[in-house]
Amino acid sequence: MNTELIGIIATFLLTLIIAIPLGKYLAKVFAGEKVWTDFLKPLETGIYKLSGINVKEQMNWKQQLKALLTINILWLVYGFFMLIFQDKLPFNPDGNAGMTADLAFNTIISFVANCNLQHYSGETGVSYLTQQFVLMFLQFVSAATGIAAAVVLFKAFRDKTTTQLGNFWEFFVRAITRLLLPLSIVIALLLTFNGTPASYEGKDQFISVQGDTVHVSRGPAAQMIAIKHLGTNGGGYFGANSAHPFENPSYFTNMVEVIAQTIIPLAMIIAFGYFIRRKKLAWTIFGVMTIGLFMLMLPTLSSELGGNPALAKLGISQTTGAMEGKEVRFGPAATAYWSTLTTVISTGSVNGMHDSTMPLTGLWQLLAMMINAFYGGCGVGLLNYFIYLIIAVFISGLMVGRTPEFLGHKVEAREIKIAAIITLLSPFLILAGTAIASFVFVNHGGADWAVQPKNWLNNPGFHGFSEMLYEVTSSNANNGSGFEGLGDNNVFWNLLTGIIIFLGRFLPIIGPVAIAGLLGAKKFIPESAGTLKTDTKTFALMTFAVILVLNALSYFPALALGPLAEYFTMLK
């Protein structure tokens, strides 16, 4: 077998080896049990004291959400003004300009929401101050927000009946002190010692071997790249993201970065099982998600390793696979592997350009983001999956003619309504958003915006449609990757995707937390012969079918117009 395939198999196995113990550790951290990182307690106590927080105070689900939304809104305001005025603030060695209002609106929502869609380019669009004090800061806290929200859900199912769901601030701070910060330090050091810049020196200039004057952007990148992956954020320091040789210098760092973005979403599933003392349920969920992952990854690998059929016709050799938009040091296999994980999980960092991948690869990338629950983002992946679970419980309940129950709590009309709204939200945002964009492209091509609609698309035909569909899908999934050929830095795309990211982030957090809070408060019904068991293979299959049917029904027409149409045209 070739070294490229061995490389990705080893990467996946290493991910499991790290993620499973990490999950057990997280369950203990959030349950307040003894762990070896307890030496950090004084740091946490200090943070609580300085912030005036009493972590003994128990919150119900509504209070949890109030705390979560309050601090998130504060970050929106803080970051918006920092980005607009970055040219007047210090730490701007390259002299980059302040952002326009619409770009700042988009960027700040995107980073608060853990999406990290970037309509600016890191080298020219932000200063060192805003890179660190706004964007990197938000990469930490948005990931911690997602994790804390998931822990609230854990809490609701740990005890039989409870409205006391712990303290939001405590979960939030611990996610940083016990998980994100320590691991970021390790990863940032690994990157720094493998070539990624970490200093504050500005742009450099030199005369190349052939005598050209070349400028090189630098800066404190390693620090940000570490948390960008760990926190499933994905927003790169440089424009080309993890394809940039400074951002991702070697095959080794590539393994580190792709493992870093996978371990927390995986660990959260394991943590869920250990936390609520239902390990089998966690392994069932893990099984469904992993099968889903492979169903998306294997065809992706096959279409990328096969190379571009149009280039094959030109008579060149594509022994390792398609190379447009890819880097030699990673090769097509590791780039295809990454592209599946970054879309399955809502990271959205890229080590190769998705716009240049094969049509079917684009299809799998889109579908992964539409489903958005095979592992999924930091904490929120599990919340998304939870909605599918509730729908599956409901449908199974109807099929066998029993009141649906989940973990000993009756699922009733109110919970189902919330789950249904959240389920319908994604197709609504994705399809309506793409429809509006297509309408503007066709009917208002000459609109006087920074990029005129008629110039939006970098590629003609079906692929051009895919560029718009991808942008909207990525926004809704809070993914942040793009078919980057799209001319997206203009008032239309900044506002449209900003709004979609905001709704696509906060409603799918509020919904599941509300359902969990409502269920947790209900009377506990002990398991009996009539109980629908949620940790069996049958139920796993049921959930899988629900995910498949919901997404196929919602998105097939749109996918047929984009990547599928392009694929079949290329076959001709």
């Binding site: 490389g7 601090i71 940083i176 910060l181 190349s208 070697s250 390792t320 398609a322 716009d355």
Partner: protein, 186 residues
């Protein structure tokens, strides 16, 4: 509610100190003892900096090994891929032209020997590497232009080839800038 607002503000300030000042400064400080002092490893020729080991640069003269096509012309003040879709007719024409250029400057080269990386743009536009095959097809030209023995050049390519990580994982690659500097130093 008011309570949450005040707590949010205070917590944000505390975390900014921890995450935006202490953490990045600590890493930057540790980076001082890494290669290139945490500012990127530089390569020199006759004592002058001529580039960064990780950042590819443009080579067009026949006596140098060429890198991959770049969407940003190897200007590392920015970075980007071409973002051309696989079926884009303009793109396919561009690739076709690149093939012709390679055939023209490398007499004796057959189309089927050209590896994809030599005629496609990289993701970053700054790819410092080419594949082993990408170097192999240029040995003839470089040797002729420099009036060197082919085997000597071949040897140099082999010396500058990075094997898969730990000999097991990922592809092998050739750093174009390092190889060309080695040629100049002969």
């Amino acid at each position: 509610m008011k309570n949450y607002i005040i707590q949010s503000i205070r917590l944000t300030l505390v975390l900014i100190v921890l995450l935006c000042i202490l953490y990045p400064l600590g890493i930057a400080l540790a980076g001082k003892i890494s290669k290139g002092n945490g500012s990127g490893e530089k390569l020199t020729k006759n004592g002058k900096v001529v580039g960064y080991a990780l950042i590819g640069q443009s080579f067009t003269k026949p006596e140098y090994f060429w890198g991959r096509p770049s969407a940003v012309a190897y200007n590392a003040a920015g970075s980007a891929g071409s973002n051309k879709g696989p079926s884009n007719p303009d793109y396919l024409k561009e690739v076709s032209n690149r093939i012709d250029t390679l055939l023209k400057y490398n007499p004796g080269l057959k189309k089927s020997e050209i590896p994809a990386d030599m005629v496609t743009a990289s993701g970053s536009g700054l790819d410092p590497n080419i594949s082993e095959q990408g170097a192999a097809i240029q040995i003839n030209r470089v040797a002729k232009a420099r009036k060197l023995d082919q085997n000597k050049v071949k040897e140099l390519v082999a010396m500058n080839t990075l094997k898969p990580f730990l000999g097991l994982f990922g592809p092998s690659s050739v750093n174009v800038l390092k190889l060309n500097l080695a040629l100049d130093n002969l």
